[in-house]
């Protein structure tokens, strides 16, 4: 069942097309990663999904209802958090959450604010103004705000940026817990690919305003089909391996004590066999299968020194 459906969404600023005719959906209980390099169109899309940027073309519907025509009803069940928006600085954590609870007409307001403060470990900070908090603490308050109305759909724009590893892990676990318990759906952007692999069910990859991939993190990584076979060798064996790689037309990267071979995942065992047959002796070996990060770097493309350039 779709909770969000986007059809042919386009945003054009004068001559620049920021989002180019994209279509996708978010299922109930799904955590959808929304990835892409800076300037790819992620934030523009999220702003349109929140109704704070008018699309040039296309349709957005939530829960089977047209967003524009049912904005207030839909926004009651939606929320948003971004590391890049601020809360009123002079107000305390508790005051920010209280007025937000009023905005959403939460009935057991005091209990809800108390509960959300406890959940996001804000008890000691609740009477401090936002201006007194660190960047990470502010992000936590922003996240607490985004769950105050018990939303059915949450849009999270880099929710764990600026958080320490322990808090970031807590947030990931909380999102997964909310999905398990309440079946919430999440659209999730992050530049932390390991986090995306851990949390998301599916990933949309956007670049130059177009969706260029829509699959699970595992399948996207697999689509690269390039495994890094790293061998540590003595100098004379290192030379032999370089010659071998050239003969077999295998791309390599040479380090001081090791050589990395970029091969297809399916060739790993046969190439290792041949290396052994050639009596090339190695002291250590590591095999790195492609990850979502490799996929990101390849698709992001022209980053100097990227994986794509080496291959």
């Amino acid at each position: 069942m779709h909770v969000l459906k986007v059809i042919n969404l386009t945003k054009q600023f004068k001559d620049f097309v920021a989002v180019d005719n994209i279509s996708f959906s978010l299922q109930k209980g799904e955590i959808l990663g929304f990835l892409g390099p800076n300037g790819a169109g992620k934030t523009t899309t999220i702003q349109m999904l929140l109704g704070i940027l008018t699309p040039s073309h296309g349709h957005i519907s939530y829960f089977g209802k047209e967003f524009n025509a049912n904005r207030e009803e839909i926004l009651e069940k939606l929320n948003f958090s971004s590391t890049y928006t601020n809360l009123p600085w002079v107000l305390t954590v508790k005051e920010n959450l209280t007025y937000t609870a009023h905005l959403y007409d939460i009935q057991d307001r005091k209990q809800r604010v108390k509960h959300i403060i406890k959940t996001f470990r804000l008890e000691e900070l609740q009477n401090k103004p936002i201006s007194d908090l660190s960047a990470g603490q502010q992000t936590r308050v922003n996240l607490a705000k985004s769950f105050i109305n018990d939303p059915e759909v949450v849009l999270l724009d880099e929710p764990t940026a600026s958080l320490d590893p322990e808090t970031a892990r807590f947030i990931r676990e909380y999102i997964l817990h909310k999905r398990e318990k309440d079946g919430i759906s999440v659209l999730f952007t992050s530049h932390n690919m390991k986090e995306v692999e851990e949390v998301t069910d599916r990933v949309l990859f956007i670049n130059h305003g177009k969706i260029i991939a829509n699959d699970t993190p595992l399948n996207l990584a697999k689509s690269l089909d390039t495994t890094q076979l790293s061998l540590t060798l003595a100098p004379d064996h290192k030379e032999k391996l370089i010659v071998f790689a050239h003969q077999k037309n295998i791309p390599i990267k040479v380090h001081q004590k090791s050589v990395i071979l970029f091969i297809k995942d399916s060739q790993t065992s046969s190439i290792l066999n041949e290396i052994v047959k050639q009596r090339i002796v190695f002291a250590d070996i590591s095999i790195e299968r492609p990850s979502l990060e490799d996929y990101f770097l390849k698709v992001a493309g022209n980053t100097p020194g990227s994986f794509a350039d080496i291959v």
């Binding site: 904005r71 601020n86 809360l87 937000t100 905005l103």
Partner: protein, 261 residues
């Protein structure tokens, strides 16, 4: 329109008021300073006229009425700026708040804070200069809708310009009312103005209120006809300002709400 959402925005600014010395001084300090300066000035002029108490009543009454205009516009334009400075506009509008609920919250704040400021100033005027404005209460109540609506009109026009051009035009929130004030003939009769300025005054509804106020204090008569004209003009101007602000807001949504930061 949902009352709880209007209340939420009102609450947000009341929290701010509690914690901000800027907002507190806007509400009490500046009205007190204005009142003391104008009170002393009018007392001096009164002494030149053999202790004529009417001079004090006219000047301080005019000041109190101007405070209503100023407060009403200020609550709209400065509260908008507050959310721009805090980069909080996005957080507000991802909630199910409508544009008109947002404006209604500012209207409410304008009325509440006007009442507080004007009451404070009136008490101060009574204590310091023995001027009792309660004797004019019925007439003053007639003036209030015109003054408040014109304050809202100014506030919305300034806000519309801020939404279009960003915080680089934020100085209008403080300066624009004072650009209008000479034509509003707050402290002097319209007849004092040069002919071209009188024409401008004739399309500023609050000029009728100040004129009427002076007439009432000095002669005890109220020109209801001119007040009705002023009221109608205020309604028309308020509608036009609301349309202008809504159009600016819609235009901003074309560029994205964050683009105004």
């Amino acid at each position: 329109m949902k009352a709880h959402r209007i209340y939420a925005i009102v609450l947000r600014y009341l929290y701010l008021l509690r914690r901000s010395y800027d907002r507190m001084s806007d509400m009490f300090y500046w009205p007190a300073i204005d009142l003391i300066i104008w009170g002393l000035t009018s007392s001096y002029f009164s002494s030149l006229q053999g202790g004529n108490q009417q001079v004090i009543s006219i000047l301080l009454g005019s000041l109190l009425l101007w405070m209503v205009v100023w407060r009403s516009q200020y609550e709209i334009s400065v509260n908008l700026l507050e959310d721009l400075w805090n980069k909080n506009l996005m957080n507000i509008f991802v909630a199910p708040l409508s544009f008109y609920e947002w404006i209604a919250a500012f209207y409410t704040l304008g009325i509440v804070k006007s009442i507080v400021s004007i009451s404070f100033a009136a008490i101060l005027a009574f204590v310091l200069y023995h001027t009792n404005f309660l004797q004019y209460n019925i007439v003053f109540v007639l003036y209030l809708p015109i003054l408040i609506m014109f304050g809202w009109t100014l506030g919305m026009m300034i806000s519309a310009l801020v939404l279009r051009f960003g915080t680089r035009v934020q100085t209008l929130a403080w300066s624009f009312p004072y650009l209008v004030s000479p034509f509003a003939a707050i402290y002097y009769p319209i007849a004092t103005l040069p002919p071209f300025a009188r024409k401008i005054a004739s399309i500023i509804p609050i000029s009728y209120v100040f004129e009427s106020g002076r007439e009432y204090v000095s002669k005890g008569v109220v020109d209801y006809h001119s007040l009705v004209v002023a009221l109608m003009m205020s309604v028309v101007l308020l509608i036009l300002a609301t349309i202008f602000l809504k159009k600016s807001f819609d235009k901003l949504l074309q560029k994205g709400l964050v683009s105004v930061y």
